[in-house]
Symmetry: C2
DNA sequence: CTGAAAGCGCTTACAG
DNA sequence: CTGAAAGCGCTTACAG
């Protein structure tokens, strides 16, 4: 059973394809097609179950009304929070979203950008992977608007929306110091992108400014490519050796793994070790004790990014098309009460 | 800057569009196009950065090489686990996935099926919503293969892949009884679909078979439409009034909310109350104490569903195209040790 | 070995 | 008020 096309309708009604197209696109009034014909066309279209072929429209008009969203990990917590908002927001403008995840692999990321391009998506929202600069510039040269999420490349000037990573970590470290923690450990990963670099930089700077010297043995870089098991083990070994008074995890998944490591070590939070995490997770507020976090304004990030992209696509003239850096929210829970 | 098309290449090389198409599709050898020309075409195509327009191909061939995946909730845990596997599996066959989420709303679900249809997806994987029977039958009448996930309609014969819900719950209840729990509560939701009905049925049957009579005040149905806050409150009020020895949550998100309610009530697990949940969650294994669960074989579900869909699409003749019911895995952790 | 032509389903000037 | 025609980028018989 074939899909019904404009031609089928035209044949049934006894008119031309153009007329059917005009009517079904609501332009009947404008070109003054008779009410009788209009009604008849609409009736037949409905009865036959006509659905326009979006592929054909995209091919003809050059616009697909699809936004490509390339994230690092489609099963991650950040994506889960993001996707919902983005989907709802772009829907207001009649756009749909195609998601894909790079797994933080350059090769995969490049491939997916090409794929999205081949599918003629109108605009891109991308969590960039190191080394992707060229592909992104090419999209922009092709006239396709791009908004980078969560990170950006310092050398290129693509529009980006992200949280104030430096400020967020700085607040966290300051909080720990005020609570009386001195020997503070930092666990981050080897993502060679600005958001992680900023977090690391903020950690070192803030300690230095407080007159605390940072020992390299209090800093752990966990490779992204390790599997979960290995990562937990590395964190465990690290904490066991370094014996910090508090630990700051630079990403929520590291925090989750960190908690597992801490449980394995049978350490009590916050008595044996204070814990704070950059980026919230469902698990943290439910954990006993609940984990203090620096929360990213995910809703706001998504909304801002969509607004900018829509502005670039010619909707919503009011919105600025500039990059944005949003403030993180510090949430103190029970994992950072120093007891000594 | 325009995208480069076959025509552009043909013009540059000084040959015809057909020849370029043939060569670039690897059919050059078959129709014996000269090596010299082939090489030249390939070189120019690469230099110009040619990418085939998938829309045009889809329009022309009637195949989009896209699978539509309609889930209940794109930010849910089940989706997160599913998406990754499905994406990887269908990739082997050259397919891509478009995701959308119905939010368990019939109206939204219907709309999304229409949308996927308009985008000419070749096959569907759907977590069905009550009332969707007609739309799904229509897809099948249009010759589009469909595999239902997680549930199905008892009246229609669509292919489906799901876990043995009845068996899973039955195991859980039996376990509780063996551990000495008698007053067992059941928390489920008002999803009017087979998976939830089966879980409910299994709960009542198993208790009855053990000679324990089920009191209606030990059963709570939490409306899906309530917001999270309300749901937690309802569970809390319910547990406080019913004072069960153990509680079985019929879905992982209910378990997560249930834990919050239990913490609010200051009840100790497993001393004050035993807890078991159908469907695992990252949070459960990390929780103190870790929560006993009935785990769905998500990987296997996804793989099976993909295999069946691909078989229906004409790949992989070896695979059966029959519906499948997979066994759940019971994982005993520390939340169900009766202490009295 | 290679090219001209039709056609997928649509939109949009253009002509009448 | 309505229709014939071109063209988006591609594939695929068909002809030579």
């Amino acid at each position: 059973m074939k899909n019904v096309s404009l031609k089928d309708i035209a044949l049934k009604v006894g008119t031309s394809i153009s007329t059917v197209s005009l009517v079904l696109n609501g332009k009947g009034k404008k070109v003054r097609i008779s009410d009788a014909l209009s009604r008849k066309i609409k009736t037949v279209a409905k009865k036959e179950g006509y659905h326009p072929n979006k592929m054909a429209i995209a091919l003809r008009t050059g616009k697909s009304n699809i936004i490509g969203l390339l994230v690092d990990n489609i099963s991650g917590h950040f994506f889960a929070a993001l996707a919902e908002v983005i989907e709802r927001e772009v829907d207001h403008y009649g756009y749909k979203v195609i998601y894909c995840s790079s797994g933080n692999e350059l090769r995969k990321g490049k491939e997916l950008i090409r794929l999205l391009h081949q599918h003629q998506v109108d605009g891109y929202m991308i969590i960039p992977v190191a080394g992707m600069e060229k592909e992104i510039s090419e999209l922009e040269e092709h006239g396709k608007p791009v908004v980078l999420l969560d990170s950006y490349f310092s050398k290129t000037q693509s529009t980006h929306v992200l949280v104030d990573n430096y400020g967020g970590i700085s607040t966290a470290v300051t909080h720990l110091i005020q609570r009386g923690y001195q020997k503070i450990a930092f666990v981050y990963n080897n993502l060679a992108m600005i958001q992680m670099k900023e977090r690391k930089r903020a950690f070192s700077d803030t300690l230095k400014q407080a007159g605390i010297k940072t020992a390299p043995e209090l800093i752990l870089k966990v490779p992204l490519t390790d599997n979960r098991q290995e990562q937990v083990l590395k964190i465990k070994t690290f904490l066991d050796a370094a014996k910090p008074e508090a630990v700051l995890f630079a990403a929520n998944y590291l925090g989750v793994q960190g908690l597992e490591a801490i449980h394995n070590l049978q350490l009590k939070i916050p008595d044996d070790i204070g814990v704070i995490c950059f980026d919230d997770h469902e698990l943290f507020s439910l954990h006993q004790p609940a984990i203090t976090v620096v929360q990213q304004p995910v809703q706001e990030l998504a909304k801002t990014a969509v607004a900018i992209l829509m502005a670039k696509l010619g909707h919503e003239e009011t919105t600025s098309k500039e990059s944005a850096e949003l403030q993180a929210t510090f949430i103190e829970r029970q994992s950072t009460t120093y007891k000594k």
